[in-house]
Amino acid sequence: MNNLHLVKRSGNTLVRRIVCYIVAIIISMGIGAILLSVLGINPVSYYKDMLTIGLIGNRYAYKSVEGFLKVFVPLLMVSLALALSFKMRFWNIGGEGEFLVGAMCAAAVAFNFGSLPTAALIPLMCLAAIISSGLIGLAVAFLKCRFNTNETLITLMINYIVLYGVKYFGETKADWNFFLRDDSARPIFAKFPENAEMPGIHIGAFNLLYSVIFTLILTVIIYVYLKYTKQGYEIAVVGDSSDTARYAGIKVKRVTLRTMFLSASLIGLAGAFSASASATVSSSMTNSVGWTGIVVAWLSKLSIPGIFVASILISILQYGCQAASTSYPAIDRNYADLLQGIILFAVLVSDFTVTFKIVKRKEDASK
């Protein structure tokens, strides 16, 4: 009975990994299909609607692309930012909070300096987001460096403190509260002034936002940063062995502080982009990107190209469900979460088959 045991695989496993992940996704979609059938929905046509994210047979297909990008861009950016800190073995799970702080600070700038021209206002909003979120990251890193405070739990707490802070601004009607609409008796977050909306390049009817272009450029920059620069090398060494890093003359604390500032500020920037693109803020605007980003970064094994692909897949799922809900009102975006959960479980299982192999034990080997 105990003749099976585990052995770690050696050598290159990339191809095996990709194949296993694809199989995992197919199996999960199968389980999802069964769930759909239980509700009396034809899974084939539903999946068709979902996977095409409303591109086919739609006169306003460009709208679908824009919608997809609104999901994809924040997820990509947050996952990239988290990968920076994870590479350093620093468990920043405060993506939700850092995202919201960035968005709110950008909003504060937008509401107070709405008269500035777009070319000045948007960078200013981004700067506010970068600095405010970055400072949170810096504070967490400081506590970790100074007192070895558990960063996982600290950032977890920050998420909720920030969330309730945002709710406070969103639910408190007062003269000083510039976040809310003046013309409504109920507290509602106001729309940004026009100058604070993210501009873009018009390709026909399609509006390619600058934030999208910038994020794609940033992806390449982060890839190069981690792989080829001295600072990226420092992150890898610190993550691997901080004793060795100190010995090599790397100032571990400085690298930790710097990287966490970068990580958090990029997440804040994603928040600012997202706020500017939708021209408003809300307490649910993160769309759980802080959580999903962790999963994306981890499952991609912190590889930047991997994160890029995984972000696309998850975004198709998320936005696809939204798009499909027009024809299937009974299925809302929670189905995407459900399917995402199942896929992740399946991928975790297949991850195992990539890392380990099961070997049968031989009895009484002769020779």
């Binding site: 506590l143 309730y164 499952l299 189905y335 959960g341 975790l348």
Partner: protein
């Protein structure tokens, strides 16, 4: 005066009501963390136990059946967590977060899927009856205290009972000793002949099951109505994770700790009525935003984490090997 007294009594009575789901969640998570696993999936585990326990309980019109189903279904979620992290060595943070996403989504999926078939609590009179408050003879007659502590529904007492039992289990039994050994140093525990996977599976499943009961309690407490926008658990799972730190991984302390956290939560709801009842003494309460009370548990936990890490020579109840997977043949 009798009016203000009744406001106070009601206030403290409500603290108990609000703190009980936290107690279930916290004690469950302590059992899991003592085995060396950090399960961030409390929210999702509670949600699944809540929705399945509630629906089956209503259909069977029995609180007992509801509790059994809540426990079993959440324990199965725990089994999934164990399978992934213990058997398959998956990362605990990622697995936990996935369970939360999945669990909450399943809650909505079932709720939306049932639509008008969603069972109303009124359709299960016997279950409602079992869940109603009952007065413990003699004890409930004590003025003030009696109403506050001794006239609750059965699940309140079960929660306290479980917490005390878990404390006894961890500190005075041999199995409890073995469990703590795993959480502190799995390599050592393994060489002692302790079956680590078995122990982890059992305790993660039992811990998750306990969480499921907390989820069911929340659902029943909210009158069993399904809202498409708000999950019953509503962040209580996350507060439970914070509470584990607050009570220093001690199930007996959890009774006190959840009461403190429940206090803030209740204050959020009652700050208005307290302020108007005692305008002189507590009038200032009315000026504090409700969101502050909601955030308070997290703020306190954050401060505890920071202060605790600043202290030297600490004696913490935190298992030394928490969050790390154990693979015997690793080298």
């Amino acid at each position: 005066m009798t009016d203000s007294l009744s406001v106070l009594t009601l206030f403290f009575f409500s603290i108990v009501v609000y703190s009980i789901p936290l107690l279930y969640g916290t004690v469950g998570e302590i059992m899991i963390e003592k085995s060396g696993s950090l399960n961030l999936g409390v929210e999702g585990t509670m949600a699944i136990g809540a929705v399945l326990g509630y629906i089956v309980g209503c259909r069977a019109d029995s609180l007992f059946v509801g509790m059994m189903i809540a426990f079993i279904s959440s324990a199965l979620v725990g089994a999934l967590f164990s399978f992934l992290t213990v058997t398959l060595q998956a990362n605990q943070n990622v697995t936990g977060l996935t369970i939360t996403t999945f669990g909450v989504a399943l809650y909505y999926f079932i709720g939306n899927g049932l639509g008008n078939d969603w069972p109303q609590m009124g359709s299960a009179p016997r279950m409602v009856n079992s869940f109603s408050d009952m007065e413990i003879p003699l004890l409930s007659d004590i003025p003030g205290i009696g109403k506050i502590f001794f006239s609750h529904n059965i699940m309140v007492y079960i929660a306290v009972g479980i917490a005390v039992l878990c404390w006894i289990y961890l500190n005075t039994t041999t199995l409890g000793l073995e469990l703590r050994a795993i959480g502190e140093n799995p390599g050592a525990a393994d060489s002692m002949g302790i079956n680590i996977p078995l122990m982890k599976y059992i305790h993660i499943m039992v811990g998750s099951g306990i969480m499921g009961l907390g989820g069911l309690y929340m659902g029943l407490n909210m009158g069993g109505t399904f809202e498409g926008s708000n999950c019953w658990i509503n962040g209580y799972g996350w507060i439970s994770i914070a509470l584990v730190i607050f009570v220093n991984w001690n199930p007996a302390m959890a009774v006190v700790g959840t009461f403190v956290f429940g206090f803030f939560n209740t204050l959020r709801v009652y700050s208005g009525s307290l302020a108007s009842t005692f305008p002189g003494l507590l009038g200032w309460l009315g000026n504090i935003p409700a969101q502050f009370f909601s955030a308070l548990p997290f703020i306190i936990t954050l401060l505890i984490l920071v202060v605790d890490s600043m202290r030297k020579n600490k004696k913490s109840g935190q298992p030394a090997a928490i969050g790390l997977n154990y693979y015997r043949e690793d080298r």
